[in-house]
Amino acid sequence: MIQLNNVSYCYNENDYALDSVSLEIKKGEFIGIAGRNGSGKSTLIRLINGLLLPLQGNVNVMGMDTMDNDSIIGIRKIAGMVFQDPQSQFIGMTVGEDVAFGPENLGLSHEDICGRVDTSLKAVGMYIYKDHTPRALSGGQKQKVALASILAMEPELILFDEATSMLDPVASEEVLKLIKQLHNKGVTIVYVTHRLEELIFADRLIIMDKGRIIHDDNPRKLLNEENILDSGIYLPPIIELSRRLCSEQVIEPIRLPISREELMEALCQLM
């Protein structure tokens, strides 16, 4: 579905934010991308929907090149993006108007726009706030509206740029649950975060450092790697505990428990 071939990008001269990265994303995948600040993860996904254009290499979205000016709208229609700050991605004065912004840009008819606004607001459970001003909503509610406004464009792929990092744990969990539901319906997801615990169920976990992809594998396999910490990544305490219990042979190191429930199960078997 998406191919990046030897893509490089830099904001300042000779300071590569992305250094010759190649990546293929298949339809229907859930891809998690983690890495410390400045590792290039946000740059990578901004290249996918053409918000940034590669200095070298090329990015191909369903047969369209992001460098091609005529296909850029087509690409952004396929690949929607939810940003980190819940406040600064609002465009409309009311929740409903904000969700309508994308479909309006696509030139849809009045009936189609209203239909899409209602369906996508209902999908995230924010329909009752349709006529409210976004300013009065909580961070979690704002992110749900941001998700709805992407859904209204009926994308096949949604890119999330640390979309839960400013939310409290309860709200993050709710947003993540919505994202999983979308994935189950067949939407391809690329999810950037620095909370690894949010990525344990992903199909593929990509770890980035200094503008390169240094790991790209199944999360369970990857989290069991000896050298994973070299990337400066921060492991969630539960996974760290699992790894140490495994390395000290307290639990069988064959299948690393990667969630609290799994670790609990593994330990209970020992009693």
Binding site: N49, L51, I73, R76, K77, G80, M81, F83, D85, Q87, S88, Q89, F90, I91, G92, M93, T94, G96, E97, A100, F101, G102, P103, E104, N105, L106, G107, L108, S109, H110, I113, C114, V117, R135, A136, S149, I150, M153
Partner: protein
Amino acid sequence: MVKEMNSLFLSFVPGDSLLHRLDPRTKLVALMVASIYILNLSSLAHILFFTFLFMFLATMCKIPFMHFIRSVRPMLLFFVLIFLLQLLFTDGTHTFRIKWLTVSYEGLILGTLLVSRFVFLLLFAALLTATTSPSMITTGLERLLRPLPLRYLGVSSHDIAMMMSFSIYFVPLMYDNFKDLKDAQLSRGLNVKKNPFKTILAFSVPLINNSIRSVEDVSLAMESRCYRGTGRTSVHIMAFKGMDLIVLSSLAISSFFYLIK
């Protein structure tokens, strides 16, 4: 936090009056025509006429007068100032003294006329904003501008409408930002009276910085939602109804007589 801004300056008051139901384009055209008349206001009779017109319209849209007074209040100091300037610096034939001041009747009338022009402009603008949601105003404006050959200036009517709605949208955001900044800088011991220059810096630099950052963020969000400035449709339907035609034709007739007079 509940936003006190909601009840302030030039804000929208939802309702279902005749004025609320008029097409925004009709109201925009009416405001434009009214502004021309108001700027040419030249006698006390005119003032009386506009006072009655305003009272009539304000009563019709069932919005408390207090709302409109609030729209004028922030400019009060400015009004007093221009009134005094006219009063004191207009030479006239009929003069009289109030204690040590010499004022002329001409000055008094000129001052009154000038101030009432500003006041009526504000009041009628407030009438538009109170009865029309901001997004309807911008959509209406976009439609009115569409026939203009704006593309030779490198913008589209959508661009102008977007810019307008952003300025409306950013004011409350900047206000929130300003309140937080005030608390932050006061907590750092800022003494507004003792150090006015530093105060200006301590507020303006972060305010501008944060605004630029949010504009950048918003433009990214717009781009990724396929905004290109052209070929946009709208979630709002614009349709002239019977009442719009009546209002527009009466505006046309009155302008005709105004011009040939």
